[in-house]
Assembly symmetry: C2
Homo-oligomer: 241 residues x 2
DNA sequence: GAAATAGTGTCTTTCAGACATTATGTT
DNA sequence: AACATAATGTCTGAAAGACACTATTTC
């Protein structure tokens, strides 16, 4: 049994990103059109192979996110999702990919990154229904990522990651409604979200950008977890599965 | 930009396992003593490099679990935890490891697998406190794995994964108490756990192995998620973080 | 004024937490 | 009988869901 790495089989390791936003009243994900084979011309998740040996994969993901969106990782949420390693997932050979989940607000010029590939937003529904087809096993990855993102809204302050730095309660509620595809009662949402200490910090400012009575502006507070969580309806299967 | 994998830098890919059980009234994890350098003689998580190119990493994890415990993966719970890829985590060079979390009941001869390495159970507390030191970054991995396991008990039927095929409500409650390090009210636990449809299926049998009045035996039902969840006390920080 | 949205309050039901009581076995 | 644990029931308080009402802006 060899003690060094020379005799170990090695694999190509990729990092892929599922970058979500809420844009034009829809829950959307950033896709790129592949410039090269395989799957040339098809849509896929942005990502790439790891190329430096002196970099944590979390850092690689953050760097690629910055390349793709022009945003540094400290400005938005980035977390590891899962690693996918089916041997047949890439026709070129064994490629294992570590996937990350990122949530970002709808910023003016999020796309058109440094990369030459053309990036675009696509509604997640179109992918989940199979209406839009993706390269590799990215369909499955998107499905997992959406489930993770939706679940996280229940107990974390991550909904605010889709909002600009300062936002109103209504704007935050709209994010929840769009991501979950479900209407929420404005009064109860307001009560629930403001009752969590440290979750939202009022800026003191007000805005009328949503029309009607001016709404108080908030920014994200230090608290990240909500306990107990907001639950999205009872329409989920409690029993069977 | 090359289209094949020949020019891609590759890494050695490992699979490590965090195998938990409840044994002798303690929450324990399976560790092995390393037979080779680096960290020879030190305790570490069981695992190894992927050696076949035609195998999903999930399958690799299941196979190694079987080698280590003698149990097939369909008998116990196995899920991917996270991938760790700090460049300095292995002194031999770049090794990325995909870690898995496994939960198993306290079986008669779980250890003494086919592998030559000596395996042993260790209380997780000793690792979390730093009392027991582990090789590589396995300390961090165990910490993440424990947090995942504890959290999963809140909303899933995974507590039963620590129990034998047939178990009483009290035995299941003891699992929760030991994993969470927290006393639970027997009456309330009974009410809560039996109220979830499809969670526990009564076998019709009874046992007196716990003393006192005979308790009904149950086995795991088809339902896997509990909604709403059982919460472990209010002693967590709801706000700060 | 009307229309729109923000924010507060109230009522009801559900459920967690605390705890009493009864049931059924062993010694 | 005493003892141990199982199982069911009751009470209370907190919080979710449903919804009425008031407040403050624009048009």
């Amino acid at each position: 049994m060899p003690q060094d790495l020379q005799h170990r089989p090695k694999v190509a390791l990729a990092v892929d990103l599922a970058i979500f936003t809420v844009r034009e009243d829809r829950f959307q994900i950033l896709l790129v059109e592949r410039a090269n084979q395989p799957y040339r011309g098809q849509l896929a998740l942005p990502g790439g192979f790891i190329d430096t040996d002196d970099e944590d994969i979390d850092v690689t993901a953050a760097r690629e996110l910055a390349e793709e969106t022009g945003l540094t990782a400290d400005r938005l949420h980035l977390e590891q999702l899962r690693t996918y390693g089916r041997p047949d997932r890439d026709p070129r050979g064994r490629v294992v990919t570590v996937c990350y989940l990122a949530l970002m607000p709808d910023l003016p010029i999020p796309v058109a990154g440094g990369d030459a590939r053309s990036a675009r937003w696509a509604p997640v529904d179109a992918i989940l229904t199979g209406e839009v087809h993706l390269a590799f096993d990215h369909q499955v990855i998107v499905s997992d990522a959406v489930e993770r993102a939706r679940g996280k809204l229940e107990y974390s302050s991550l909904g605010a990651a889709f909002c600009p730095a300062e936002f109103t309660i209504s704007e935050l509620r709209r994010v929840y409604e769009i991501v979950w595809g479900q209407q929420l009662d404005p009064r109860n949402f307001h009560r629930k979200i403001t009752s969590v200490a440290g979750f939202l910090v009022p800026t003191g400012e007000r805005t009328t950008r949503d029309g009607g009575r001016p709404a108080a502006l908030y920014r994200r507070g230090p608290a990240t977890v909500m306990h107990p969580p907001i639950l999205r309806g009872h329409n989920q299967n409690h029993s069977e599965r």
